[in-house]
C-alpha cells in the first residue's frame, strides 16, 4: 500500500475497503460462472422461458424482451444489470420469480444451519479443551476415536438411521416437517422458531426447535469433527508456550488460565474455519433437508433440478455462493475486531 495511512482507524478502513473490493470481485466472478453455465446448457432459453405451448411469435417476442438476440457480452452486462435489481428470472414450473421463491425458503435453511453452528461450537470447544489439557490421556483418546468415526459417516445415511431409530422407533423426536400438525404460526421472517416467538407462542417455538434438533445434529457432526481437530491442535500449541509456564508457576488457577490465556489465543483459526463451514453447511443442508422433509434452499434446489427448472437452479446456486462470500467477509471483519495483531500484520504486508 503506497497510500499514507498512518493512524489505525485509517488503516482499518483501507483494510475493510480492500476486503470488500475483493468480495465484490469474487461475486462478479461467481455471476460470470453462473452465466456461462446458462449459456452452456443445451436448448433454447427463450423457448424454455416462454413455456412449452408458446407460439413461434411468442418465443421470438420473449427472446427479444430478454435480450437473447443480443451478442453474448451485451447479454452478460444485461444479466449483471438484472442481478443488481435482484432479478434472477422466473421459475418455469411455479411461474413465481426465483427471487421470491428463494426468499421464502432461505430463512428456514439459515435457521437450521445456525442451530448446527451453535451445536458445533458449544460441543466442540469444551471437548477440544479437555482433550488438549489431558493430551494423550484416556479422555483424549476416546474423543479422538469418536471424532475419527463421526468424520467418516455419510450424512444422508446417518440422517436416515437417526430418523428411523430416534424418531420412528423410540419416538423421541418428530420424524419430519417443520411444525406439528396442530401448530400454526403466521409467516413473518420465514424462520419458524423466530416467527413463533414473534407471535408470542413459545409452545410453537419449542415444537419447531424439536423438529430441528435431529437434522441440526446430523448436519453438525462432520463439521464438528473438523473443528475439533483444528482447535485441539491449536490449543496444544498455545499450551506449550512459555508465558503459560510462567502463569502456571505464578499459581494462576487452571480455569482462569484456560479461559483468559489459552482459549483467546487459540480460537482465531477456528473462527475462520467456522465461517468457511457456514457456507459448506448450507450446501450439506441439501442432504439433511431431503431426509427430514424440511423446506429450504436445499429442497428448493433438488426440486428445481428434477423439474429441469434452469433459472431456479442457477438462482439458488448463485444465492448460496453469495452467502458464502458474505460469510467469509463477515469472518474477516470479526477477526479484525478480535485480534489487533492481525490488523497490524495484514496491513504491514
Amino acid at each position: 500500500m503506497t497510500t499514507v495511512a498512518n493512524n489505525p482507524k485509517q488503516q482499518t478502513a483501507v483494510f475493510l475497503l480492500r476486503k470488500a473490493a475483493s468480495s465484490f470481485i469474487t461475486l462478479v466472478g461467481l455471476s460470470a460462472f453462473v452465466f456461462m453455465m446458462v449459456k452452456l446448457i443445451p436448448g433454447d432459453e427463450a423457448r424454455v422461458a416462454a413455456g412449452e405451448n408458446a407460439s413461434v411469435e411468442q418465443v421470438e417476442a420473449i427472446r427479444h424482451s430478454l435480450g437473447f438476440d443480443q451478442p453474448v457480452p451485451v447479454q452478460f452486462v444485461a444479466f449483471i444489470g438484472r442481478l443488481l435489481h435482484g432479478d434472477l428470472g422466473t421459475s418455469i414450473t411455479t411461474h413465481v420469480s426465483v427471487t421470491q421463491g428463494i426468499q421464502q425458503v432461505l430463512p428456514q435453511t439459515i435457521e437450521l444451519v445456525l442451530l448446527a453452528v451453535l451445536i458445533v461450537v458449544t460441543v466442540v470447544v469444551p471437548l477440544a479443551t479437555v482433550s488438549a489439557l489431558h493430551r494423550d490421556g484416556k479422555i483424549d483418546y476416546t474423543f479422538k476415536i469418536l471424532v475419527i468415526v463421526s468424520a467418516g459417516l455419510p450424512t444422508f445415511w446417518l440422517a436416515l438411521l437417526l430418523q428411523y431409530g430416534l424418531g420412528t422407533k423410540a419416538q423421541l423426536f418428530p420424524i419430519s416437517g417443520r411444525l406439528s400438525r396442530n401448530m400454526h404460526v403466521p409467516t413473518r421472517t420465514g424462520s419458524v422458531v423466530l416467527d413463533s416467538l414473534l407471535a408470542g407462542n413459545p409452545l410453537a417455538a419449542w415444537d419447531g426447535l424439536q423438529h430441528l434438533i435431529l437434522p441440526a445434529v446430523v448436519l453438525a457432526l462432520p463439521f464438528g469433527a473438523q473443528l475439533y481437530r483444528m482447535l485441539r491442535a491449536e490449543l496444544i500449541q498455545v499450551l506449550a508456550r512459555e508465558h503459560l509456564t510462567v502463569a502456571r508457576a505464578k499459581g494462576v488457577p487452571q480455569r482462569q488460565l484456560v479461559m483468559q490465556h489459552v482459549l483467546p489465543n487459540s480460537i482465531g483459526p477456528s473462527i475462520t474455519l467456522v465461517g468457511i463451514q457456514f457456507g459448506a453447511m448450507v450446501g450439506a443442508a441439501v442432504l439433511v433437508e431431503s431426509v427430514f422433509g424440511l423446506v429450504g434452499i436445499g429442497s428448493y434446489l433438488t426440486n428445481a433440478v428434477s423439474q429441469k427448472d434452469t433459472f431456479a437452479v442457477l438462482g439458488g446456486v448463485l444465492v448460496i455462493g453469495a452467502l458464502v462470500v458474505v460469510s467469509n467477509f463477515v469472518v474477516d471483519i470479526l477477526q479484525l475486531v478480535r485480534d489487533p495483531r492481525l490488523r497490524a500484520g495484514q496491513l504491514g504486508a
Binding site: G29, G152, Y164, A233, V313, G316, N328, Q335, L342
Partner: protein, 290 residues
C-alpha cells in the same frame, strides 16, 4: 477471501502420534486401503450379474442368511454382491475425481507461479470464486446442465475440487521458488519452463501425495450424497450412495439394505482419511518446511 486461514491444515505432532500410534494402525490402514482398491478393480468382475442387477421379487427383503450374507433389497437383489460390484463406481470414481482435480490444481498453480504477478492475482481471484461453491450445490447446477448421471457428478466434483489443491500447491511452489537451488539454476540461465518442470514442480508435489488419501475419503462421502439427492449414479447402479437411496423406503422392514452400503462408505472414507494422517507423518519434514 478467507486468506487468513491456510485451507490445508497440517496436523500437529500429537494428533498424528496417537492416531497412527494406535496398535497396528500403520499396518491395518494401508492393508484395508489396498484391499478396497483391489475390490474396486475386480469387484464387478467377480460379482455375479444375476444377483446384482436382476430383480427377484419372490426373495425380496430377505434378512441376512447363509444364502444372502447381507440379505436382499426391495427388488430381491443380493446386498452383499451389490456392495462388491458397487465398489467400482463408488471408489474408482472418487479416485478419478481426485486425480482429475489434482491435475487441474497443478496446472493452475503452475500458471500462477510462472505467469507473474498479474496472472497470479487473477487466478487466485478465480480460486476464491470457485471456493465459494459448496460442491453439492455446484453438482446440482451441473446436473441441471448435463442431466443427472454418475459422469455429471464426476465432472462437477472435478470442477469444484481443484481450487484447494491449486491454492495449497501455489504456496508450496512459491516456497520452492525461493530455495537456493532454484536461484542457482536461474543464475545458470535455465529457462523458465525448464526451471518449472525440472526443478520446482518435482520438488513441490509431495504435498499432493499427502493430500490425495484424505481427498479420496471426503470425495466418497460427497459422491454418495450426490447419488442420494438424485444427481449422481442412477438406479439400478450398485453405487453405494444409490443403494442407500433405493432402500430408504424399506428401512423399517429391511434395515440391512440401507444400513450396509452406508457402512461400506463409512469404512472406506475412514480408511482413506486415516491413511492421509499416516502419510502426513511420513512426509512430515517436507510439510514442516513450509
Amino acid at each position: 477471501m478467507a486468506a487468513t486461514l491456510p485451507v490445508f491444515v497440517p496436523e500437529r505432532r500429537s494428533w498424528r502420534r496417537t492416531v497412527s500410534g494406535l496398535p497396528g494402525m500403520q499396518l491395518i490402514v494401508p492393508t484395508v486401503v489396498v484391499l478396497l482398491l483391489v475390490l474396486a478393480i475386480v469387484g464387478p468382475l467377480i460379482a455375479p450379474d444375476a444377483l446384482v442387477y436382476r430383480s427377484d421379487i419372490l426373495s425380496a427383503l430377505a434378512p441376512p442368511s447363509s444364502t444372502h450374507w447381507l440379505g436382499t433389497d426391495e427388488q430381491g437383489r443380493d446386498v452383499f454382491w451389490r456392495i462388491i460390484a458397487g465398489a467400482q463406481s463408488s471408489l474408482l470414481s472418487a479416485v478419478a475425481i481426485v486425480t482429475g482435480f489434482s491435475f487441474v490444481g497443478v496446472l493452475v498453480a503452475t500458471l500462477a507461479t510462472l505467469g507473474g504477478k498479474w496472472a497470479d492475482e487473477v487466478l487466485m481471484r478465480v480460486v476464491d470464486a470457485a471456493l465459494a461453491f459448496p460442491p453439492i450445490i455446484f453438482a446440482l447446477g451441473v446436473a441441471a446442465a448435463l442431466g443427472p448421471s454418475l459422469n455429471s457428478a464426476i465432472i462437477a466434483m472435478i470442477l469444484t475440487g481443484w481450487p484447494v489443491t491449486a491454492r495449497v500447491l501455489r504456496g508450496v511452489m512459491k516456497e520452492t521458488m525461493s530455495q537456493p537451488f532454484v536461484e542457482n539454476a536461474r543464475v545458470l540461465g535455465v529457462s523458465r519452463t525448464r526451471l518449472m518442470l525440472r526443478h520446482v514442480l518435482p520438488n513441490s508435489l509431495d504435498v499432493l501425495v499427502v493430500k490425495w488419501a484424505g481427498d479420496v475419503g471426503n470425495t466418497i462421502l460427497i459422491l454418495g450424497g450426490l447419488s442420494f439427492v438424485g444427481v449422481g449414479a442412477q438406479p439400478p447402479s450398485a453405487e453405494w450412495g444409490a443403494m442407500v437411496t433405493s432402500a430408504k423406503g424399506v428401512i423399517a422392514t429391511a434395515w440391512w439394505a440401507a444400513f450396509t452400503p452406508g457402512i461400506a462408505i463409512a469404512i472406506t472414507a475412514t480408511a482413506f482419511g486415516l491413511l492421509g494422517d499416516i502419510l502426513q507423518v511420513r512426509f512430515n519434514p517436507a510439510l514442516r518446511k513450509r
